[in-house]
């Protein structure tokens, strides 16, 4: 896990907009992806993650920078010769071919023998649990089945890296959850390096060994899901990954004065955070880290509404006319304040963080 397997160095790519301007789709991006890793590239649409994935696949050519796979430079190799394969967002199954013909297509291009192709098609279908679907046409498949065929088609090629471009975005929630688990299992079984692009932070968190968070053509943070969730480097990551209350405060000797006048003590802020001696600072507190407290409260406000979501109850507390704080309370066991009630809120332990804006 130590040496880099897929090395992306200083990739730049600009596009011309229809209005005549230029957009930096990728602005000097460098990443090291390890062998056998489930690597997720996460970001809002237009952040450059798909452009990078397509650059690895060879469907897009970066303006500058290099891509090295297993010690070999691949950025100047045409797509059809790169030892990587892609699962497309639209699945891109060939409509005039059967399921088996779709999967066999890539193997025929390798000029493999008929017997071997048949064996590998069968194996690929087995991997995605679609045995018996060989003769079906893509128009006779459900979305989930088409997704599996696309996956089988790419896996049958035994790629060094499997690239997945938002493959689950067209599936409904329940199917998506199922496929997430299955993709994770497939990745562990095959040991193939997966590079997975998504804009869904929950999907990224539940699947990725590591996540690269993209914004405006740059990698903002690269770390494990836990670290990214617990230690976001800036307010963008804090806000994009999970939910966060971002509060503008003023640092002073006691701690940080928050909107409404309450004070967040230095002991309530994680130790690895830097707190200036004075001046404005942004504080991030997760809704589930806030507790209702009667004694010392960091913020105090009026309960505007409470929403029962099953496992939790979300309440929104109005602190000042323009500041509202979301709190997530366990739906069983905790006291749920009524609407209109004034409550004091404090982060549990030292769960509050200061973040670069």
């Amino acid at each position: 896990m130590s040496s880099s397997y897929l090395a992306i160095s200083n990739i730049k790519k600009t596009f011309n907009t229809p209005e005549g301007g230029t957009v930096h789709a990728l602005d000097d991006v460098s990443l090291d992806i390890q062998s056998g890793e489930f690597f997720v590239m996460l970001g809002p649409s237009g952040c450059g993650k798909t452009t990078l994935l397509r650059s690895i696949a060879g469907l897009e050519y970066p303006d500058s920078g290099t891509i090295t796979l297993d010690g070999q430079r691949i950025d100047d190799i045409p797509a059809y010769n790169r030892p990587v394969n892609t699962v497309f967002q639209s699945y891109a199954l060939f409509p005039h071919m059967t399921v088996a013909q779709n999967i066999a297509f890539g193997l025929e291009m390798e000029k493999l023998g008929k017997a071997e192709i048949t064996t590998r098609v069968g194996l690929a279908l087995e991997q995605v649990k679609l045995e018996g679907y060989e003769k079906r046409r893509s128009s006779q498949l459900s979305g989930g089945q088409a997704q599996r065929v696309a996956l089988a088609r790419a896996l049958a090629k035994k790629p060094k890296v499997l690239l997945l471009d938002e493959p689950l975005s067209a599936l409904d929630l329940k199917l998506r959850r199922g496929m997430q688990i299955e993709l994770k299992r497939l990745q562990q079984e095959t040991g193939i390096t997966f590079v997975f692009v998504t804009h869904d932070q929950e999907e990224a968190m539940s699947m990725g060994d590591r996540i690269a968070v993209f914004n405006s053509g740059k990698v903002v943070q690269l770390d494990t899901p836990r670290e990214i969730y617990r230690r976001p480097v800036n307010s963008f990551v804090a806000d994009f990954i999970g939910e966060t209350n971002l509060l503008d405060g003023v640092a002073n000797a006691d701690g940080i004065t928050l909107p409404g006048g309450g004070i967040l003590l230095r002991s309530q802020i994680a130790e690895d955070c830097t707190i200036p001696d004075s001046g404005s600072v942004t504080v991030a507190i997760r809704p589930e880290d806030l507790e209702i407290t009667d004694a010392h409260a960091a913020v105090r406000g009026t309960v505007r509404d409470s929403i029962f979501t099953g496992d939790t109850v979300r309440i929104h507390v109005t602190v000042t006319p323009d500041v509202e704080v979301a709190v997530s309370l366990p739906s069983y066991g905790a006291r749920i304040p009524d609407r209109g009630e004034t409550v004091g809120l404090s982060p549990s332990g030292n769960s509050a963080r200061t973040v670069a804006s």
């Binding site: 060879g58 797509a79 394969n85 639209s90 060939f94 005039h96 090629k157």
Partner: protein
Amino acid sequence: MTAINVATESPALQTDQMRPGQTSPRLALPTVLFLVATIAVPIGLTLVYSFLSTADIGTGVKWDFTLGAYRHLFVQDKLDGTTAFDTRYVKVIWNSFTYSAITTVVTLILSLPIAMWIATRAESARNFLVAAVTLPFWISILIRTYGLRQLIDDNGPVGGIFHKLGLSYHIIYTPTATIIGLIYVFLPFMILPIYASAERFDFSLAEAGYDLGAKRMTVFRKIVLPSIRPGIISGIALVFIPALGSFLQSDMLGGGKANMIANIIANQFGQARNWPFGCALSVLLIGLTVLFVQIIRGVTARTGDQVNLV
């Protein structure tokens, strides 16, 4: 259905009230009558006349049943009373067939790249380019063919270039000129259906092809071509069938030397004054067309392509 069920059905359905968008079938009657009068009746007459004899004097037919017109297609009666196999008309039919086949193949080769190119442009450019392809339809085919005749004439601009280069040049009034004329007229009929298919093509399929290890030509052959096949088949039908029965190009560019079926048909109703033979040739042409449509139907039924012909 029992009597009780009929009785309980909504009475509203039996009134004259119609839902929005519905029309009375009576409104279609004038068109139906017009089509019967202009298509069914002439074809029926053609079929009947082809079995009759030539009038003794003047034009027209004599109500005297004979297979003579069809015999005339293949058999020649010599003055000395002997008969011989007549290859003249078979040759003309063969000419028509080869000219149409060459036209179809050339227009197909010319249309594939241009249709693909238009289909991959931005939408505004696509609309402009399609309009440009259809532009010739705005000008009378007669005027366009005259224009083409000036262009390829020995003393025309093309001939001028050949003369300057010291090369011999003579195209006008040859079968080559006829074929050039056919290609020119029928090119849009090949481009448009192929473009319509290509425009619907999902180019991520081509990307998937590259990704799976196929090179450019393989992607085109194995992925693009099968996807645009309905357009190609439509194009072939729209070019080959009318080309087979075309008249103007061989008349004006081919030198009027009666080198396609339609020219002979025209001649039978004109100078030759042999209506039954003209009708027999027409029946043959209709037969060839129907045969070709059936072949295409057979092909599309096998490949499962959606092509609307008849």
